[in-house]
């Protein structure tokens, strides 16, 4: 099984090629089948790979199908590495990706461009698998850029809508800013380590750090800059809400299985480097916590169902970075996985709602869908409970682990815990605001619309994800609650190097404290739910009342702190202005001027030259004769000089 590891990403690539070249000819049904089947094969192989990995004592398997670059001592094999971390990632990517593909068959059934959709979707999964399986930075960078490209293609899938095309470009450009940091980090790594292989770099890192700690800090910060782009953290999160312009399953794929998890994965993968530079870890934790709170506050007032989910994703990613930042790498990856389950479920559920209401996304025009769409409602409710942190669902386990770690970790801080806990309350509130607005109360959609439950191909993935959202967290059930923290143990070999660098964990915290914190986190979750129930079910006039009373605050949140406008004013406009200036003054005048000038010169010379070609025999003869006179004159002159 393991020697065939490198074929896991190949299946989606095959699907991409088949759908890309022949999809239109073979029709929608076939393209959907190819799209799903290739991912399913990848998923099954991933399961097999995991099984094989568990039987390996060293918990690591390397395979390089071919050498990619060999220049002097610069040697980059196209290598793949399977270890617990990448095993988890490929399972999440291919598993959740497969469910989203199946869902897409139903969701996109009316779209004439379905083959194109599935080819892009397959390509997306391919690049993501390359990213997580890479055994060196350069191969990872291929996947990294590839998912950026695919996000552009898929967010702008309905490119005839100007807003979609713009959102695609925004995602791509903002990602490029992060990629700049990542590529600079790769250059620095190669420059100082002489290799790009993960294993070798992490082995040599302590020695390099001993010589120059600043270098490791710089690399860490640049890597994190890349992560903020891909994983939508402050300050580069702005592309993600706009990414809602894509088809809803694409949003699910981007938010749950691929793309945004890339940054988290990368930081976890490079945990050794981060652990060697405590500053970077602190930055990661602070940015993560700040993003979590900041995004959650914006999610409170959004009226677009997908926008709420988008900000919720940013917020949850903030949690993951918070976990990574306090040295709880396993907890971060754990939350990544559980979040993939319930966030995919939330998006697919939202997609069902949108589908049922004929592309209506505004929460204010929904309501009362509970009876019309029972499957969607119940699965959505499970996901909402999970993200709100209600035990025993998946979200509770991972979120509680993060909160506990941020409080108890030697590099944690109670402030980080406080921010996380407040965010948890806000999360529960806005999620149940969404649930109540969409599924409960009076229907507010036009009476001409008759919502219906989604077809089987869309409903079944919902159920599957619903089950996963319930039980997905149990593999990491904490010890204090009678579990075994198996997930953490499974990942432990990957983070050994990092753990060794971090201050030792003291077992001074009493069990009572831990129980207390668990109780608090459950309490805030329930509090948020109750709060939402109070406002949106019991007395729906309250929000309206508050809206008018705190109009300033409300508008601030509704307009997302005007961050987009601020970026526009201080970054985009000056850039566009200077680009336009350079375009006029430099490109048009100097570059084009030079090129055109050379052409013009040649033209002028030719126009002048052609006039000598008069076709007049005598003129030519006279010219020739004068030439002879001059030549002979030279001979005569030298002769006379010699002969005196």
């Amino acid at each position: 099984m393991l020697p065939l590891l490198w074929t896991i990403p190949l299946w989606p690539l095959l699907g991409f090629l088949l759908n890309g070249f022949f999809g239109r000819r073979w029709g929608k049904k076939t393209s959907g089948l190819i799209g799903c089947a290739t991912i399913l094969v990848s998923f099954l192989m991933s399961v097999g790979a995991l099984a094989s990995l568990l039987s390996l004592p060293e918990r690591r398997y390397l395979v390089a199908p071919f050498d990619w670059i060999v220049v002097g001592n610069f040697h980059v094999p196209f290598g793949f590495m399977l270890d617990p971390l990448s095993a988890v990632m490929i399972l999440v990517v291919s598993g959740v990706g497969f469910l989203i593909h199946v869902y897409s068959v139903g969701y996109m059934s009316h779209d004439p461009d379905q083959p194109r959709y599935f080819s892009f979707l397959n390509l997306f999964v391919f690049f993501m698998l390359v990213l997580v399986l890479a055994d060196n930075f350069l191969v990872m960078y291929i996947g990294w850029e590839g998912v950026g490209l695919c996000s552009y293609l898929l967010i702008g899938f309905w490119f005839r809508r100007p807003s979609a095309a713009r959102a695609g470009m925004k995602a791509f450009i903002v990602n490029r800013i992060g990629d700049l940091g990542f590529s600079l980090a790769i250059f620095l790594i190669f420059w100082n380590f002489g290799t790009l292989s993960f294993i070798e770099v992490f082995e040599r890192a302590p020695a390099v750090a001993a010589v120059s700690g600043g270098l490791i800090t710089a690399i860490g910060l640049l890597l994190f800059m890349g992560a903020t782009g891909k994983s939508a953290q402050i300050p580069l999160y702005v592309w993600l809400p706009d990414a809602m312009e894509g088809p809803t399953p694409v949003s699910a794929l981007i938010h749950a299985a691929t793309m945004v998890t890339a940054g988290v994965y990368m930081v976890a993968r490079c945990s050794t480097l981060f652990a060697l530079a405590p500053v970077t870890l602190a930055v990661v934790a602070i940015i993560g916590a700040a993003t979590a709170l900041f995004a959650a506050s914006m999610a409170l007032v959004q009226n677009d169902i997908k926008k709420v989910l988008a900000y919720s994703t940013i917020s949850q990613l903030g949690y993951m970075f918070l976990a990574l930042g306090v040295g709880a790498f396993a907890a971060g990856i754990f939350h990544l996985m559980t979040h993939a389950f319930f966030k995919a479920l939330l998006f697919l559920g939202a997609g069902s709602v949108i589908h049922a209401l004929s592309d209506e996304q505004d929460l204010r025009k929904m309501g009362g869908l509970k009876t019309a769409m029972p499957i969607t409602y119940w699965t959505f409710l499970i996901a909402a409970l999970a993200i709100a942190g209600v035990p025993p669902l998946a979200g509770f386990v991972s979120k509680d682990e993060i909160l506990w770690q941020s409080f108890s970790s030697p590099i944690g801080h109670w402030l980080l815990w406080l921010v996380g806990t407040i965010t948890a309350a806000l999360t529960a509130f806005y999620m149940f605001r969404l649930v109540f607005l969409a599924f409960h109360g009076q229907s507010r959609y036009p009476s001409t619309v008759h919502p219906h439950e989604s077809p089987g191909s869309m409903a079944k993935p919902l159920i599957a994800l619903g089950v996963l959202s319930v039980i997905g967290g149990w593999i990491g059930w904490p010890k204090v609650l009678g579990g075994g923290s198996w997930f953490e143990h499974f990942l432990a070999p990957v983070f050994e190097g990092a753990e060794a660098r971090l201050p030792a964990r003291e077992a001074t915290h009493s069990l009572g404290l831990e129980y207390g914190l668990i109780a608090v986190s459950i309490a805030v979750g329930l509090l948020g739910i109750g709060w939402a129930y109070q406002w949106y079910v019991k007395s729906p006039e309250r929000p309206e009342h508050l809206r008018t009373r705190f109009a300033g605050l409300y508008n601030l949140l509704l307009n997302k702190y005007w961050v987009d406008e601020i970026y526009d004013a201080i970054i985009v406009r000056p850039l566009v202005g200077s680009a336009r200036f350079l375009y006029r003054r430099f490109d048009l005048a100097v570059v084009d001027g030079t090129a055109n000038g050379i052409a013009k010169l040649a033209q002028t010379l030719a126009a002048t030259g052609v006039r000598t070609s008069t076709g007049r025999f005598r003129l030519g003869a006279v010219t020739f004769a004068f030439g002879c006179v001059v030549a002979l004159g030279w001979v005569v002159y030298t002769f006379l000089r010699v002969s005196g």
């Binding site: 052609v610 000598t612 070609s613 008069t614 007049r616 025999f617 005598r618 006279v622």
Partner: protein
Amino acid sequence: MTLLPVPLGNYILLSGILFSLGVIGVLTARNAIIILMSVELMLNAANLLLVVFARVHGDIGGQVMVFFVLTVAAAEAAVGLAILVAVFRRKGSVDVDRLNMLKG
């Protein structure tokens, strides 16, 4: 040691004058036949010098060369006049100013 009828310079001068007349003829004439005849004039100027120097050096090679020049002149006249006839057929004239098909 014998003597030439006149000093060598006179022969060279005569040859030069004839040659220059040929040059002027080629450069100024518009009639293609005159141009061909001017070329003959130049060839003859060269012939004269060949004969003179054959005499001065007592080398028969100079006269043989004149023979060759004569052959070349005959060939040149034949081809040149044939071209002339062809041009006349096409243009209806032997005015070299009308031969401007090579104009760029």
